[in-house]
Symmetry: C2
């Protein structure tokens, strides 16, 4: 059984000028975060960096040292702006080599697609000593080197790589959550939320306001690793809100 006091953490580096220019709406942060939660690993921090070697090296070396796992997305394709493998190898102080397993995968994948050109062979390059992460969507695999997981930028490909990693990483107790919603301004129940969190050790309560159809509401997310604690806090907060005259929607609004 997992040690309930051990919290496993991960960081994510999203690599790509297209995110920083606003051209592309990132979808990997939410997808990696959600997947990690199920594995019992908490996403502690994310950085979005440009296709720039120095920026990648800095982020990799800080984040891999202070988290159990480091994930990256983006920059592992065949074109000139795909520099992730070289930058991570530099950060690790290792060379770059063609992974023979990756070469075999790509040879097979491109056998009916025009053959393995030099550009395509770039996608078999890994930091020396790395293993592969299965790509269930297309040809080029992801890469694992120690506690670093190097994945694609295209969200559907990243999803397949995460799927192939499911259940393979050591984690702790998953952080469970319940959501309830009210048509209430959060400023009206700020004190209630703070006292409810204080009186339920092991729970965190997040308050997320929204504005819809000219009305003010908020969803409250209660998080805990212990389901008994989680349910007690959720029930107590629900009862307190209802005593205050606010109708509570289980699951959030």
């Amino acid at each position: 059984m997992a040690d309930p006091t051990r919290i496993w953490t991960a960081a994510l580096i999203v690599i790509g000028d297209e995110i920083l220019s606003g051209r592309t709406q990132d979808r990997n942060i939410a997808q990696v975060a959600t997947w990690l939660g199920v594995q019992g690993i908490r996403l502690r921090e994310v950085r979005v960096v440009a296709d720039d070697e120095a920026a990648i090296v800095e982020a990799v070396n800080i984040l891999r040292a202070r988290n159990d796992y480091l994930f990256t997305t983006g920059g592992i394709g065949p074109t000139h702006d795909d520099i992730t493998v070289d930058a991570i190898a530099k950060a690790l102080g290792v060379g770059v080599e063609v992974h023979e397993g990756a070469r075999a995968l790509l040879t097979d994948y491109y056998a009916t697609r025009g053959g393995l050109t030099d550009a395509r062979l770039r996608m078999a390059r890994v930091p020396a000593g790395a293993d592969l992460i299965e790509n269930r969507m297309s040809g080029a695999p992801g890469i694992r080197h120690g506690n670093i997981f190097i994945m694609a930028g295209v969200p559907s490909i990243t999803a397949g790589m995460l799927d192939s990693l499911t259940g393979t990483l050591e984690g702790g107790l998953p952080l469970l959550s319940e959501t309830i919603g009210c048509w209430v301004g959060e400023s009206e129940i700020a004190d209630l939320l703070a006292s409810m969190e204080r009186s339920h050790e092991g729970c965190q309560i997040g308050s997320y306001p929204f504005f819809r159809e000219g009305r003010t509401g908020a969803n409250f997310v209660i998080r805990a690793t212990d389901p008994v604690v989680l349910n007690a806090c959720t029930a107590d907060l629900t009862a307190a809100l209802e005593r205050g005259g606010w109708a509570v929607t289980a699951g959030g609004i």
Copy 2:
């Protein structure tokens, strides 16, 4: 006229457990990035951090020092998990004070909404010496302190705050871009892209593959500050792709 050699940069800190848990899909990165681009300011790096004072302080102090501007989103509401103002004040080494202009705004806003309670007054607290950023959507203003811009987490409110800042920040020449798309595997034209970028000084070419309906395609984004350079590179790349037998869709696929 703006100095064409001066590049203005910004960083963004997205503050919030809800992003790191995967519960909420961030939309502020793309919106801030796009807005900055129009102001002639480049978003150079983004960090997503938890509702955690130490994490916010670390990010603020590193990023404000090495960028012209620092933006933050999230954590400026009235509840216990809204700690952005206190954390930024700590990073700056200044106290927290109630801004009298913000108090007046909130008094007015809540006059017909139950009055200015202690919880609501929390939203008038600023790092000492700060100015306000107009909130065109709801009551609580954003905050400016030197080169730091503290904004809401709710994207529609952030949008209003950005709107009120439009044209007020010094920037350089906007980075212009053109997008063209092809139904081509990017590995087939990787060498062409690299040589095209090399032969057009001042241009960057990004390659963004996608998979739709079982087919492989890619969009190519050409970026430059000089419209003449941009148009020449776009035209040359389009002509080269068409010579290779690929139909090019202007504006991207």
